[in-house]
């Protein structure tokens, strides 16, 4: 049933007509050229172009629309006749649903459709990434407060909201599981039909007991990390409609449109070619826009009503219903010899998976694989258990759990340094991974520049130690510094995750580069354009990127796990080479020359002894341009035996070291991070503006998660579902002095030598802060967040004056 609605106007980024877009594109390229000239380039001939841009600090194309308020976020797209969808959500954390009465809701003027889970055929009700366990709408049981039960579409959002309030749900409450410890108790109420354990992963190398016996020092600690929210600023939002060909089209802010494409097809029963999922401009994601939020319900309502349907979650719904960072308890033993050589590591993790599986197993697998990174440890045991609880599902979030593993590992490394009287840099150097070292999974490493990140931080560390020794307090606050490191595998863990790119050209010389991985706000489209243009030998201004669309691009995997620059960048590079070859061959054919006499470089085509512009070359090829399609696929040989934890889980690894300076107000228990330094081995930096932005943003998110952020979980609900109570860093709370170093290194497998960098700078921050607090105030925090109350108590206890618990 084709609808009369065509796609709303505008390209992926801009909500304005083509003429306006063309004008602003010229403005943009004028600015790019001005920057190139300021950098000392001499740009004589091409009117707009610049070539060879990899490594240049260039502004991003999409930002032009964003600073003007013309960005096409999903909630900004309107269609005639559009309905508004709202959800009825569970008020119970764990309960059987006895009755859902929607009679009164249906009678609300303006209500067009009311959808219950039982109306979806039983074999299509469940969705999920690895395991399909999550109902689109709960049917006979709810597993967390905030779980969607009914979706209502109405002429206005107000009518939909009013109707939601009139839906009556009768529940029979079930015992609520608040923690993984409770979940694992023998007599615990079961949340899932298969029991309360989501995963129990174990990996061992060497002989742990022997390793501990060899140690002169054994540290044993427990670290606790609470649940956190991604707090991207744009609430999940989408719009669904039937296009004139009857293709069910979902425009939505997501990290992985091709996943939703399959899920929507599954839930609606439509064949894949009758569904299209296209990513809109994404207002931040950080792992929180991997799972279904509005997509499937919108699809079903659009099919039901035949009308475009839109939904945007409220901020409160984001906090109570989208996935969270896993709360974890990590018990860890680390053994070392007197001279600081690590002999053994024993890690025991208990993780809170929330109500559904989401990415729990992927987070768990990554945590096990990364145990002990980036150090050489001969004897390791890593045990990771993740269990269901009646809180929102825990899923993917920036670093997939590694920030917590690093909180434990790096804290113990710092404690070890102190115990042995070594500098934290020295103790790391004595164990640091280098080329040809093997990870605990048995993967051999290459192009590792971890040592260099320590070298980069060391002089700053030494200087700050001296400064603080001379002036240990500032304005009555205690000063301290601390550092921590990271090693991080780029891309999916242990399964192939290829990326592909395609490039097309028209007779006017306009080039389209298509790649499946969406730009989620990080500027990946810009990096891909730079790589594709340089590889093809053409000017950046010719290339327009289309990404994240299930119809227009191949499935290249999600933008997550820091993989897009590396995987899609490689695909774009290979594609650029192929495109270049095809152009050269086509020009050769048109001029009747052997192909080797034609070369495309620097945006010009050398034809025999002639040199013509790229546009002229395309005009020469004429209709033949229609046949040109550059193609690139990057599919590194990743293979891991999941059961044995052996093999090559990642295509490459990024390394780094972060350092922070703090000031601690011991009276208030307040920690202020006043400066930060980072040094990363990110391989080649494609666009320094973008890469630095990722590093800065990661540092600040790390500070927030170390100091303030937590989802307060009480009696089965998230008790702080607003920014007022979920405290995040503002401009006043963070250091504006963040100095970033990229150590010189090239990854032989990366595009122009690049690795991935989106998540990494966050990983060491909590441990670095904990160590700085130790330096300042003499206590070792082992809990995240280290908020004022926590730190105040910790300091009071250390001073022998414990604070009595406030009455509940």
């Amino acid at each position: 049933m084709p609808g009369p609605w065509t796609e709303p106007p505008g390209e992926k980024f801009a909500l304005e007509d083509l003429e306006a877009q063309a004008h602003w594109q010229r403005e943009y390229h004028r600015i790019v050229r001005a920057i190139r000239e300021e950098m000392g380039a001499d740009l004589p001939e091409a009117a707009e172009g610049v070539t060879g841009t990899v490594g240049m600090p260039l502004p991003r194309n999409d930002v032009l629309y964003k600073v003007r308020g013309r960005a096409r976020y999903a909630a900004n797209i309107k269609m005639a006749d559009m309905l508004h969808c709202r959800f009825v959500r569970s008020e119970q954390a764990h309960a059987r649903i006895l009755r859902i009465d929607t009679t009164q809701a249906e009678a609300v003027p303006g209500v067009v459709a009311v959808l219950k889970g039982e109306e979806i055929p039983p074999d299509r009700r469940l969705i999920g990434t690895l395991t399909q366990d999550t109902p689109v709408l709960a049917v006979d049981k709810v597993r967390f407060a905030g779980e969607p039960i009914v979706a209502i579409a109405a002429e206005t959002p107000e009518a939909a909201e009013a109707a939601c309030l009139l839906v009556e749900v009768d529940y029979e409450p079930l015992p609520v599981i608040h923690s993984p410890e409770e979940a694992l108790a023998a007599d615990a109420e079961t949340i899932d039909a298969e029991g309360n354990v989501i995963g129990d992963l174990l990996h061992e190398i060497g002989d742990l007991e022997a390793g501990l016996a060899q140690a002169d020092v054994v540290l044993e600690n427990e670290y606790v990390v609470e649940s956190m929210d991604h707090a991207f600023l744009e609430p999940p939002s989408g719009l669904c409609f039937l296009d004139p060909e009857g293709v069910l089209t979902v425009l939505v802010c997501t990290q992985y449109p091709h996943y939703h494409h399959k899920q929507v097809a599954r839930v609606t029963g439509l064949p894949l070619e009758k569904v299209r999922v296209s990513q809109t401009v994404v207002g931040g994601a950080f792992g929180g826009k991997m799972d279904n939020a509005v997509e499937c319900a919108l699809a079903l309502l659009t099919l039901r009503t035949g009308r475009p349907t839109t939904a945007t979650l409220s901020r409160e719904e984001v906090f109570t219903s989208t996935t969270k960072r896993h709360a974890m308890t990590i018990r860890q033993k680390l053994g070392a010899t007197k001279d600081g050589k690590l002999t053994a590591l024993d890690v025991e993790v208990l993780s809170d998976g929330g109500a559904y599986r989401s990415y729990s197993m992927i987070v768990g697998g990554r945590c096990v694989i990364h145990t002990g990174m980036p150090y050489r440890i001969p004897n390791v045991r890593s045990h990771y258990v993740v269990a269901f609880t009646n809180y929102p599902p825990a899923g993917a979030m920036r670093s997939f759990g590694i920030v917590k593993m690093a909180f434990a590992m790096e804290s113990q490394m710092n404690e070890l340094a102190e115990r042995l009287g070594l500098s934290p840099i020295e103790v790391r150097r004595r164990n640091a991974m280098v080329d040809d070292d093997k990870t605990i999974i048995g993967q051999k490493l290459w192009d590792v520049a971890y040592h260099e990140t320590l070298d980069a931080i060391e002089p700053i560390y030494e200087r700050l130690r001296r400064e603080i020794a001379a002036e240990p307090t500032r304005n009555g606050r205690k000063r301290g510094i601390g550092l921590a490191s990271l090693g991080y595998g780029i891309g999916y863990s242990g399964v192939r995750n290829p990326s592909t790119a395609r490039m097309y050209v028209d007779a006017e010389g306009q080039v389209l580069a298509c790649c499946g991985t969406p730009d989620i706000g990080t500027g990946s489209d810009m990096s891909l354009a730079m790589i594709a243009a340089q590889s093809a030998g053409i000017s950046l201004h010719r290339v327009r990127v289309i990404s994240g669309d299930s119809t227009k691009t191949d499935d290249s995997g999600p933008t997550s796990a820091s993989r897009t620059t590396y995987f899609s960048g490689n695909a774009a590079y290979i594609c650029g080479q192929d495109f270049k070859r095809q152009i050269e061959e086509a020009v050769a054919k048109a001029r009747d020359l052997p192909a080797e006499r034609v070369r495309l470089e620097d945006d010009r085509v050398l034809v025999g002894n002639d040199s013509i512009g790229f546009e002229e070359a395309c005009a020469l090829i004429g209709e033949g341009t229609e046949e040109i399609c550059g193609y690139g696929k990057f599919d590194p040989d990743i293979a891991m035996d999941i059961l044995k934890f052996s093999g090559n889980p990642y295509a490459t690894y990024t390394f780094g070291t972060d350092m922070v300076e703090v000031e601690v107000d011991e009276e208030l228990g307040q920690i202020d991070v006043v400066r930060a330094w980072t040094a990363h081995d990110a391989g080649t930096v494609i666009n320094p503006v973008g890469t630095e932005g990722q590093i800065d943003g990661g540092v600040v998110m790390g500070i927030g998660q170390a100091l303030w952020e937590r989802c307060v979980r009480k009696d089965g609900v998230i008790a702080n579902p607003h920014y007022r109570d979920y405290l995040m860093a503002g401009a006043k709370d963070v250091p504006l002095e963040i100095e970033n170093t990229f150590v010189e290194n090239k990854d032989r497998t990366g595009p122009y030598g690049a690795k991935g960098v989106a998540e990494v700078s966050l990983i060491p921050i909590p441990a670095a802060i904990a160590s700085a607090v130790r330096h300042a105030s003499g206590v070792w925090p082992n809990h995240l967040p280290m908020d004022a109350e926590y730190l105040y108590r910790l300091i009071a206890e250390a001073r022998g004056k414990p604070v009595a618990d406030a009455a509940e």
């Binding site: 004008h23 930002v63 920014y723």
Partner: protein, 162 residues
């Protein structure tokens, strides 16, 4: 429900509207006037994504009843550019990498514009103070502050700014 007749001048254009007593300015801009540059997130006056200028002063439009804005002049992010050119603030945000996902950007651009209008050469502390009501999850704020400083510097140098 009683409707209230109000008039608003938005980016120089006058609009006579009849609004509900509980309707917020964000909704009026986004839904009635189709100006979606002003983003909405928290709806509680905390994040600053919805910031507009009300008679030159930055306000959170999500907690401002449209009826209370009767007779006032509103500037949204769409109303800043002149003759197809970015303002100095917009161009500085673009050049300095002060924008990633961009959801917070209209709010920061508006707030920064108001600050520089009032105080052409603010100190770092004054900039941070002015921006404290705007949240950004992506950039870490450093490059946003640097962008505002760059505009202030250019003004000091007498380079033209709109």
């Amino acid at each position: 429900m009683t409707q209230l007749d109000i008039s608003l001048t938005v980016n120089g254009a006058r609009h006579e509207l009849s609004v509900g007593p509980t309707e917020m300015l964000t909704e009026v801009l986004r839904r009635r006037l189709d100006m979606t540059g002003t983003n909405r997130d928290c709806g509680m006056g905390i994040c600053g994504a919805c910031t507009v200028l009300l008679d030159g002063q930055p306000v959170s439009s999500c907690i401002l009843l449209a009826a209370l804005a009767d007779g006032s002049e509103i500037t949204t992010v769409e109303g800043l550019e002149r003759d197809g050119r970015l303002t100095a603030v917009q161009e500085a945000f673009l050049r300095h990498g002060a924008v990633q996902c961009g959801y917070c950007t209209p709010g920061f651009v508006i707030t920064s514009t108001a600050l520089l209008e009032e105080n052409p050469s603010p100190s770092r502390e004054e900039i941070v103070e002015a921006l404290k009501g705007n949240l950004c999850r992506c950039t870490g704020y450093k490059k946003i502050v640097e962008a505002v400083e760059a505009v202030a510097r250019a003004k000091g140098d007498g380079v033209g700014v709109s």
